[in-house]
């Protein structure tokens, strides 16, 4: 590896970078170290959170009922925080460093500041975990006031959030500097723009987090008596749900990246894809209201305007990506020669390539289960039959786990040879892992949703305390489906962790010489000389197959959605 140094016009120090032999991108070595550190932290918390996931699933599976109530609620608190916040945010920070330096051939500004942000985040992360496991914060991830945790719980969350906000600031600075130093021409690449979307949403998220948790911290110290629960809920969900929308934007960006890496896809219309991201930027934070739909004190107008993301414009954004990404894949594969009929491209796609498997399984489960159920239960009136039932975790395990986590796992398989510069070992495991994990998580979601439709509450240690006439026997079956699905998903998760840890510690140290891991083409970026479509190519390679698939998706969506209005109509009269 040759290291070249950049002397900059203004700064006193020099930056070292290497040139990636596969992508020809310049990799700032300081950025590379930050990417690695954040990715490692992410995977560590995925492992811890994953162990907790297994314990929880084996408890809600009534036939097994593993943990006692004290430890169930405690582990539930830790699992929520470790997965929804730590695993995902550390991974996203690695992604932000990558997108604002490597993808732009640019340098990492203020590496020392970036490291202090990382240290703050780790300290906060450890503090929260320790205080929770010590039993001083059995308040669940939402920490709903007036439930009160030890002050160090709130302080840990605040420190983590401050560190993360610093990373967001550094990300934007990297981009501004890259533009000023003319490291790239024209607009940001689409995937970088998607991560800019994520960073914009993260800014609001973290400011809301500060507004929520700083008063909570002071309240826990006894500095004031009453923290109104309605106010807390408004502020908390301005942090809690946009945090998930960050994941959505990051996941969509990674879907575009995986499509490019595995089949050399390019966006069929940049304007359309960017428009979809802009819809997220303007409207998606409003959806936080869907946590407050059955709360006192709020009007129909407020609930409906916000839960609908302003006329479902943010949902329109997702529907656009749902078309654009498979369309890009289809056009890329049609260009490679697989152009017979509607779906030959799909049959001939590289299903054995880990990143492609992760892309498709993640998109499918996110959309068909996560997206459809989310919009449905986020409908004001329908929420009355869904709120705090297991339909909620059923929905979000399809989005955050089967969707986001699986997409992140898929990308990690490429980060290892390209950034960690280690040979990926156990490649055949990587090939199967997305399918196994996806299948397991699909069962988990479905088991939870079916339980929730029958009224079973979430965050609840033992439903058998409830009057038997209120709990149908079919609930035991759906909870068992969830339990079995969890076991399969844990196997899938373990496969990922083993492949990744084995590769990082035992894989051969070497420069990457190919982009894809297993499929025939070594570098779709170069092999298919990926250039934007010429007008005649655009005419020849139409994504007709994708169009049919998304129409089928919409029909499924409509059936599921309207069935829920029918379900609602069968309950008592209420206003």
């Amino acid at each position: 590896m040759t290291v070249t140094t950049f002397p900059w016009s203004k700064d006193r120090s020099t930056t070292e970078y290497r040139t990636c032999p596969v992508t020809t991108l310049k990799v700032d070595l300081a950025a590379e170290k930050l990417i690695i550190a954040n990715a490692v932290a992410a995977v560590v918390f995925l492992l811890i959170g994953g162990i907790f996931a297994l314990l929880l699933a084996l408890t809600r599976w009534q036939a097994i009922h593993l943990l006692n109530p004290v430890w169930f609620y405690r582990v539930l608190t830790a699992h929520g925080f470790d997965m929804l916040v730590l695993w995902i945010v550390f991974f996203e920070c690695a992604g932000l460093y990558f997108a604002s330096t490597v993808m732009l051939n640019a340098r990492q500004v203020a590496p020392k500041l970036a490291w202090s942000a990382f240290v703050l985040m780790v300290i906060g992360a450890v503090m929260v975990n320790v205080i929770v496991l010590m039993g001083k914060a059995d308040v669940l991830f939402t920490a709903y006031v007036p439930l009160k945790a030890h002050p160090l719980f709130y302080l840990g969350v605040i420190l983590f959030a401050v560190g993360a906000l610093m990373v967001i600031g550094i990300f934007f600075t990297n981009i501004v500097v890259a533009k000023r130093e003319k490291r790239y021409e024209g607009s940001l690449p689409l995937a970088v723009f998607g991560l800019v979307t994520a960073a914009i949403l993260a800014t609001y998220t973290l400011l809301a987090g500060a507004a929520t948790f700083v008063p909570a911290f002071l309240w826990s110290l006894g500095l004031f008596e009453n923290y109104d629960p309605g106010i807390y809920r408004n502020l908390f969900w301005a942090f809690g749900h946009p945090a998930q929308q960050i994941n959505l934007a990051a996941m969509v960006s990674i879907w575009y990246m995986l499509a490019t890496i595995t089949v050399g896809a390019t966006p069929i219309n940049e304007k359309l894809s960017r428009f979809a991201f802009v819809l997220y930027i303007f409207f998606i934070n409003l959806g936080s209201a869907h946590h407050l739909l059955v709360d006192p004190g709020l009007s129909f107008a407020w609930k409906v305007s916000n839960t609908s993301y302003a006329m479902y414009l943010a949902v329109l954004g997702s529907l656009i990506h749902a078309f654009s990404i498979p369309a890009a894949v289809e056009v890329a594969l049609r260009r490679q020669g697989h152009k017979r009929g509607l779906l030959e491209w799909l049959r001939k796609a590289p299903w054995g390539e880990p990143g492609f498997a992760a892309l498709v399984v993640s998109m499918f489960l996110f959309g068909w289960i996560g997206g459809v159920t989310g919009v449905t239960i986020g409908t004001e009136q329908i929420n009355m039959v869904a709120h705090n039932t297991m339909r909620i975790p059923g929905h979000f395990h399809a989005t955050v786990v089967a969707g986001t986590t699986l997409a992140f796992m898929g990308l990690t398989y490429y980060v290892i040879p390209l950034i960690f510069r280690r040979e990926l070992v156990l490649k055949s495991w990587a090939k199967w892992q997305p399918y196994i994990f996806g299948f397991g998580m699909a069962l988990v979601s479905i088991g939870m949703i079916v339980s929730g439709i029958q009224g079973i509450p979430r965050r609840h240690w033992d439903i058998t305390f409830v009057n038997p006439t209120a709990v149908p026997g079919t609930v035991n079956l759906s909870l068992a489906v969830m339990g079995v699905g969890a076991l399969i998903a844990v196997v899938g998760g373990a496969m990922f962790l083993i492949v990744v840890l084995a590769s990082v510690f035992l894989g051969q140290k070497r420069e990457a010489n190919r982009l894809t891991l297993l499929s025939g083409d070594e570098n779709p970026l170069i092999e298919h000389a990926v250039k934007p479509l010429t007008p005649s190519e655009e005419h020849r390679f139409q994504p007709k197959g994708t169009f049919v698939i998304v129409l089928a998706f919409l029909m499924f969506f409509a059936v599921y959605y309207f069935s829920n209005w029918w379900l609602l109509g069968r309950t008592w009269i209420v206003r």
Partner: protein, 173 residues
């Protein structure tokens, strides 16, 4: 990876335009359903609330119980049989108080609040859930359409006794 073209602001292709239109129409349908149901649906989210305090609400509930109590259930919770109109329930760690005995087809303004932490008032197996928050009196205008014994499950975590917080509502014909 992959710089975009200098000018990427270009017209949409035919399939993209068609999908955008279809997806937009679906967004309109989704948006319209909620106000539509607001006017023609029989199940809508209650939007009447008052500010209160745990002490004040408890007093109101106790007065209500004193007026209409007809018995006590096996957990020593009073059973009240009020006429149609304002009825009151509080949730607290870890019970729902009192047990309501109501009539099918009659309309009640059910006032729900909490005396301590957040609770989830979840009526099963009807499957309707509303939040019971301290400081908020949430008025749910309810007309039971089926009779029998119904369970109130708490579905908002309220510390260690959460899963034992089970209440009852009886609907007579």
């Amino acid at each position: 990876m992959l710089q975009p073209q200098k000018i990427w602001w270009k017209p949409l292709g035919r399939l993209e335009k068609n999908w955008l239109l279809i997806a937009f129409v679906w967004s309109i349908v989704l948006t319209a359903m909620m106000p539509l149901w607001f006017f023609i649906g029989r199940q809508n989210v209650p939007a009447t609330s008052f500010r209160t305090t745990p002490e004040e609400f408890k007093e109101t509930v106790e007065a209500f119980v004193a007026k209409y109590q007809v018995g006590t259930d096996e957990n020593n919770v009073p059973i009240v049989a009020p006429p149609p109109g304002d009825v009151y329930i509080y949730g607290r760690q870890w019970q729902w108080y009192p047990v309501l005995k109501l009539k099918k087809g009659e309309t009640y303004r059910v006032h729900v609040s909490s005396l301590d932490v957040q609770h989830g008032f979840s009526l099963q197996p009807v499957n309707l859930t509303f939040m019971a928050l301290p400081n908020y009196d949430y008025v749910i205008t309810l007309t039971p359409t089926t009779s029998g014994e119904f369970t109130v499950v708490c579905n908002e975590y309220c510390l260690i006794g959460h899963h034992t917080m089970i209440g009852k509502i009886i609907i007579e014909e």
